[in-house]
Symmetry: C2
Subunit: 201 residues, 2 copies
DNA sequence: CTTTATTTAATACACTCGTATTATCAAATA
DNA sequence: TATTTGATAATACGAGTGTATTAAATAAAG
């Protein structure tokens, strides 16, 4: 009977506005009023689609993680050599310059946002950690890792490196050099892979 | 003529209270009222010692960086084998469990705090970056690095790794395992150092 | 056209924020 | 002791926050 507005589409619109605000002003600027203004709706309209700010944030965070997981899956299915695929995948997890809706930055902001629940951060729900795990698992399958590699340790090492690089990418506004990040990841992959098969990276 | 209260000592007290609040509640909880309560003084008293919140924050951030630089210098002068010194130094830059006033956590919080100035983050003023640079520089002096090492790249790689590990340490409350971090750093140092001199780490 | 459910808009409430103002208290000098 | 100056305390102001409430507008169904 009412106006024909797709509820889910509108929720996506609002979540994207939230996303945009988060990147532009950080978590501190993500007030419901700011978000409503960014989405071009009023406060009441926003509250019609999301009954609380917490719900909106959870929805947006989920959206960001879905986007990252999706992107990683696409890279996995690319028609490239394994080492090329892996390199592209990892680079895709970092902020890109002039990226309007950076999933990497948004993920970091959510990750660093202190939840009122005092439970520690759950890496199991981190899309980037899952992607890194997949990458390492693939390297094992392809028998590319050096002998006597501690898989768990190397997974955590690569994960920490990715988080550090992502942070660097987020904090540096314009003067961020993605080529440097690419070279760092290449160096890292080379150092954990067997050397016998030549310089893959 | 007045009460005999050392101005600078009191400013340090307040800065320490700020530090404590930052770690306990994050940057969002660091309101002047919260800080005053933590320091056991009133709002007016706080404003007497710091004319603005911004000044207080800058003072506290400076204090944190001084503490880190100091600690790193101590480690450098320790009477240990070079590789032991370096390992201890790097570990000292990470959050330690049950550490009341963690300089590492406080530094990260400041680093991630979006300044109203839109200038990008200046690594030159980051005490941890300086420490990492010193470490790498030392490895060069001692001729411990592998041949054809890209010093700038490896410095940035280690820096990113340290930031990632520090983040992990900050986000995990109780379930944080410093031994894992130690092993990761050991592995990393081994991978960038020459192998001929045996397993140093 | 009227009804009805959906969507929007506007305003209000209680709270916290940083800052400012003002008066009061304490102690060392004269 | 009186005075002066450092230090403290209490309160207020305007802005911003999340949420709640209520009235209005919209468009499909009868």
């Amino acid at each position: 009977m009412p106006k024909l507005i797709d509820h889910d589409v509108k929720r996506l619109d609002i979540a994207q506005a939230t996303w945009k605000i988060l990147i532009k002003e950080g978590a501190g600027g993500a007030s419901v009023r700011n978000i409503a203004k960014e989405a071009g709706i009023t406060l009441g309209a926003l509250r019609y689609y999301f009954t609380s700010q917490e719900e909106l944030m959870a929805f947006t965070e989920e959206l960001v993680h879905e986007k990252i997981t999706e992107k990683a899956a696409e890279h996995f299915m690319a028609d490239l050599a394994p080492h090329e695929k892996i390199l592209d995948l990892l680079l895709g997890l970092l902020p890109q310059p002039q990226e309007e809706l950076s999933a990497s930055k948004a993920r970091l902001i959510f990750k660093l946002q202190p939840k009122n629940t005092d439970k520690p951060y759950d890496t199991g729900r981190d899309s980037v950690y899952q992607a890194v795990k997949s990458v390492m698992s693939n390297l094992v399958m392809l028998n590319l890792l050096k002998k006597d590699t501690d898989l768990s340790l190397e997974t955590d090492r690569l994960y920490a490196l990715m988080d550090g690089l992502a942070m660097e990418g987020m904090l540096r506004g314009t003067g961020y050099n993605p080529y440097k990040a690419k070279n760092i990841i290449k160096t890292h992959l080379t150092s954990i892979c067997k050397t016998e098969s030549g310089d893959l990276y």
